[in-house]
Amino acid sequence: MIRIFKPTIFVLCLIPFIIIAYQILFNQLGAEPVKQVTHHTGEWTLRFILLSLAMTPLKNITKILAWIKYRRMLGLFAFFYGTLHLLTYIGFDYQFNFDPIIDDVLNKKFIFIGFAAWLLMLPLAITSNQKMVLILKQNWKKIHRLSYLIGIFAVLHFIWLSKTIFFEPLIYLIILITLLTLRLDFIKFLFKKKSVT
């Protein structure tokens, strides 16, 4: 099953990239092209972060181990879209003009926290392969707990850039809180208890 599922999901994960690449190549980006690319890549980064955070709770709830097999791939797609998001901002928006970018990172809290989220994804992406799991042993788990912080930072990034209280960032916040709550020991205990009876 995994043999068929994994490549299928991989291709599905590439669809947002194909859509935006098509829109760039064929000039379908509308009134404010840079913003369109920034929002699209940003939105999918956040979605993949939350998807990767959903795998462990899904495993615990459904008692199906296979969910874990997709966690790394989803996390790496989050990093992929996050990197595109950052490159759009640096390359398309500011044309590699670093003065205003540095100014933004230091003075705009939503950019600061967004950039921080990307930086935190770096060590996770680098240590994502099997070899690193073996080398780092217990530490690997500790390092990869950073993903919770990345999720929090990414949602804050979205909330802080929104103009007023909007519906969408709130939905992401609720999903994040749910996913993190499901990791708390006493909640996990509830599931275990249920399975015993």
Binding site: I24, E32, V34, V37, Q95, P100, K109, T164, I165, F166
Partner: protein, 305 residues
């Protein structure tokens, strides 16, 4: 300024219109001349005409809008305002005046002819357009009433109609939309009441039937679908000031030196350009400094943002 008069008896089709503009530009003739429709006349211009920047394509000026009454996404106003009823429509001018009046939009249009004004339009979100508005100086309308000596500000109130305006069913802003100007700002010849754009009647998504345009201020100051203009003693609290006082001040003049907490105001993206086009520098008072800087002599515009 040299004035070029063109008279045409009908509304100019858009493609024709753009071409004529290009032609005028090529001929080195100053742009900014008004075209006549039933209510439009040519008139002397009292502002810096737009000669350097291209006019934003009609498609973008009418499909990329901030009009939260019809939804918070840029494409919502175009989609959700199609059936919005703008006839009949009355506007009341009251408050600190000796003779409050109520006029219908038709009466106003018949009383005060519209002219074309090509203005740069700078949104607080960091994007800009160049739009050929049709309208008349607000002072021509305000002169219909006599303000008392107590009047210091003018408050604009937009329509409240949640049945027709989906966005008003949610407390995104404190509806109805409210804006304000100092009297001298409101009376300034650059401040116009808009009745149309691109030689056409004003589309619903752009604030029909009557909206304000204050070209040296960020776009949100230019209230849409206005139903009430009130002369008041105290500085009005606008909807955006109410939503976030540290982000939106009363004046909200375009000012590249005062950064918004969430985005830079030093540069802007030009709507309709492609993805490879760089941002352009934002100019103080959106480039209308020669005309309006005097209104703020001696004021600290960092504090009075």
């Amino acid at each position: 300024m040299k004035l070029n008069k063109f008279k045409s008896s009908e509304i100019t089709p858009e493609n024709f219109y753009i071409n004529r503009r290009k032609f005028l530009k090529k001929m080195g003739i100053v742009t900014g001349t008004a075209f006549a429709s039933q209510h439009i006349i040519t008139s002397a211009l009292s502002y810096t005409p737009e000669t350097e920047r291209k006019i934003t394509p009609y498609k973008f000026a009418t499909t990329y809008n901030n009009y939260y009454e019809f939804g918070t996404s840029k494409s919502d106003p175009h989609k959700n305002s199609k059936d919005f009823i703008t006839k009949p429509w009355d506007i009341k001018i009251d408050g600190e005046v000796e003779n409050e009046i109520t006029l219908s939009v038709e009466e106003i249009k018949n009383m005060i002819p519209s002219e074309e004004r090509i203005y740069r339009f700078r949104c607080v979100e960091g994007w800009s357009m160049v739009v050929p508005w049709l309208g008349f100086p607000l002072n021509k309308l305000l002169n219909k009433v006599k303000p008392t000596s107590k009047a210091k500000f003018v408050k604009f109130t937009s329509v409240y109609d949640p049945d027709q305006m989906k966005g008003q069913r949610f407390p995104v802003l404190n509806w109805p939309y409210k804006e304000g100007l100092r009297i001298d700002e409101a009376m300034h010849p650059l401040t116009i009441m808009v009745t149309g754009l691109y030689g056409k009647e004003l589309p619903n998504q752009n604030g029909a039937p009557l909206r304000l345009i204050v070209p040296w201020k960020y776009g949100f100051k230019s209230a849409k679908a206005i139903v009430n203009i009130k002369f008041v003693k105290k500085m009005p609290i606008s909807s955006w000031m109410n939503a976030s006082p540290n982000e939106y001040g009363f004046y909200s003049n375009v000012n590249p030196n005062v950064s918004h907490p969430r985005w830079s105001q030093a540069t802007e993206r030009v709507i309709g350009e492609n993805i490879y086009s760089p941002r352009i520098k934002t100019v103080m008072f959106n480039g209308y400094g020669d005309e309006v800087a005097g209104l703020y002599d001696g004021m600290d515009l960092r504090k009075n943002f």
